[in-house]
């Protein structure tokens, strides 16, 4: 703010034209800054997609792997004499862990947000919300290690099998996605117009009736948005899942048998393979599948948001 003033005293030019130029300059500067940021962002996103696609499509285009084999094949043996790349076990593992994690976390998260907004707003805001938000700040390697040290032994002693597997992965993930689901649900419940609730109470409905028949149905699309974002987060989580899922490239017969996900096979093998080798490129193909799945999740969220606006 000091700069233009000092300039105007030093500048012999008429103050009025100087003022207009300053406004224009400010306008131009602001515009240039925002445009530059947006351009940078677009370039970064675009180059990531192009890079992953160019690496990930190589096995299909020039290295003789068929897309059908990759998507529906059951056997993953990249280092055999005739390498086989069937990624169905990874897809099954990724989908089942994230869906089960969402099934566990969604009721917990939504109930927590109802508690925080409708039942005890004060305690909720001062105690429960910071506690749940804290979960988002814990590094995933810590989750993985806790999973390996606590959940895996517990499952091993309670259920048949070695403890590792889809169930262990889903439990670890459910805690990790709880903050996402809870905070989005809380925002949705808080932004509900007060008139709706008051109208319901005025008609003689109890608190539970208001929650179950007015609040939940009205905010349902927003709650689902939170759940889908949680699933997307679970789908992309690598390290914590890799530590507890067992990583056998097979579709397991039970939830307590070693399985694997797209992310865990990528983190396990990427560093051990050389750039440009078929195995390495096949891992990039898995990364491409992961990227496409994430786009799909974003697309679903957009659809849900449109429904929120319409209602």
């Amino acid at each position: 703010m000091n700069l233009p003033e000092s300039r105007s005293t030093a500048d012999p030019a008429p103050p009025q034209t100087g003022k207009i130029a300053k406004h224009h300059l400010e306008e131009w500067r602001g515009k240039a800054y925002v445009y530059l940021c947006v351009l940078l962002l677009v370039v970064i996103i675009f180059s990531i997609v192009v890079f992953i696609a160019s690496r990930g499509l190589t096995p299909f285009i020039s290295q003789g792997v068929s897309i059908k084999e990759m998507l529906f094949g059951l056997k993953w043996a990249p280092e055999d004499d005739t390498p086989v790349f069937g990624a169905l076990p990874f897809l099954v593992g990724s989908f089942s862990t994230s869906l089960i994690a969402a099934l566990i976390a969604a009721p917990l998260g939504i109930c927590a947000s109802i508690f925080m907004t409708e039942i005890m707003p004060k305690t909720g805001k001062s105690v429960l919300q910071p506690a749940i938000e804290l979960l988002a700040g814990i590094p995933s390697v810590v989750y993985g290690f806790v999973g390996l040290s606590v959940i895996v032994p517990f499952l091993r002693h309670t259920f048949p099998g070695q403890g590792v597997g889809i169930m262990a992965g889903a439990i670890v993930l459910s805690v990790m996605i709880l903050p996402t689901i809870t905070s989005i649900a809380t925002d949705a419940l808080r932004s509900l117009p007060a008139g709706l609730k008051e109208g319901s109470y005025a008609l003689g409905a109890t608190r539970w009736q208001t929650i179950a028949r007015i609040i939940l149905p009205t905010t349902m699309p927003a709650l689902l948005t939170g759940v889908v974002l949680g699933i997307a987060r679970a789908f992309g989580e690598a390290l914590a899942v890799q530590m507890v899922i067992g990583n056998a490239p097979h579709i397991p017969h039970s939830l307590f048998e070693s399985a694997t996900t797209l992310t865990s096979i990528i983190t396990l093998s990427m560093g051990n393979t050389t750039t440009g080798s078929l195995h390495n490129n096949a891992l990039w193909s898995l990364a491409l599948i992961l990227l496409i799945m994430t786009f799909l999740f974003v697309f679903i969220v957009r659809l849900l948001e449109r429904r929120v606006k319409r209602s």
Partner: protein, 313 residues
């Protein structure tokens, strides 16, 4: 005022990013000229200067890290960065010239095959240590010794109960490594003599610490670990009646071992050469190498070539 500062920061950031981008693009082709120029040795006084990156194998990383810190403390004109990332990444990066040293658990020829075979030829091998592996089991299985045939049956799924190999009646749980792992390649090549299978229900982990934890906690588990990871929580079994020990490896009695390689693109010079010489000096070989659980390269009474042929030194 505020806006112009922000604007400036954004510009600087953008330029930095652009600079990084173009540098990486250059590195894709051949050795970056600026890096190799900075390595030029000041041989007049015998001391060297320069900076370089050693990247690759996570199994070799602790040794390189420790030795590089010692070396930098002695030569303050040299700066060394050690990056973990896996043998494959290390070999690719050194062949492309992105880094100056590529650390690997396996011979470059075993990783850079087929279309990449030319790349392997441009690399010079420096064997800096030997790492030996032992099959380890959970303490409850009751087996002290396994023959090669027994190990093969276990790791290919022909035998699924410990009682078939002389242990107690308990289901075998395999803790294997991922198919691309250098540790697994070594174990398959020298202990099994054949590829193992990714069996349903088996566990795969890459990190040795996690493998040890799983084997020690899972009843009936079997896996394999480098000697430096052995401790009381697990049981190391003998291989064909030979105990996995540094002496047995050095004398050639125990066959399950591999070299730790540090590859350079072409003959090393300047600071890189000085560092590799230091790595092979008696001070490091008898000190850090042994201390960290590797076996010193000068203690080996046998040597082995790429194809696995063993001969006396």
């Amino acid at each position: 005022m505020k806006k112009s500062v922000l604007l400036l920061i954004t510009f600087v950031l953008a330029l930095t990013l652009a600079a990084c981008g173009s540098k990486n693009a250059n590195n894709g082709g051949s050795a970056s000229p600026s890096e190799s120029a900075s390595q030029s040795a000041d041989n007049a006084g015998g001391d060297v200067s320069g900076s370089f990156i050693a990247s690759g194998s996570t199994a070799l990383q602790p040794l390189v890290q420790q030795v590089s810190e010692k070396y930098m403390a002695k030569n303050d004109k040299v700066s060394i960065q050690v990056q973990p990332g896996g043998s494959g990444a290390g070999l690719s990066q050194v062949a492309e010239g992105t880094v100056q040293i590529g650390n690997s658990d396996v011979f470059a020829e075993e990783k850079l095959k087929d279309a990449d075979a030319e790349k392997a030829k441009s690399l010079v091998d420096h064997q800096v240590a030997v790492v030996a592996m032992a099959a380890v089991t959970n303490k409850d299985v009751g087996v002290d010794n396994l023959t090669k045939d027994q190990l093969v049956s276990i790791f290919t799924g022909k035998v699924t109960n410990w009682k078939d190999v002389g242990g107690k009646d308990e289901k075998i749980v395999l803790v294997n490594r991922p198919a691309s792992s250098g540790t697994r390649a070594t174990f398959e090549k020298y202990a099994l003599g054949t590829k193992s299978q990714d069996l349903a229900g088996s566990i795969q982990e890459d990190a040795s610490g996690t493998v040890r934890k799983l084997v020690s906690e899972t009843p009936g588990a079997i896996g394999y670990l480098a000697l430096s990871y052995l401790d009381d929580s697990i049981k190391a079994v003998q291989y064909e009646g030979v105990e996995a020990s540094a002496d047995n490896v050095a004398s050639g009695k125990y066959p399950v071992w591999a070299y730790e390689h540090m590859y350079t693109k072409g003959e090393p010079e300047g600071a890189v050469k000085a560092f590799l010489d230091y790595m092979l000096s008696d001070e490091v070989q008898n000190g850090d190498v042994t201390e960290l659980g590797y076996i010193a390269i000068n203690k080996m009474q046998v040597k082995r070539d790429v194809d696995g042929n063993v001969s006396n030194k």
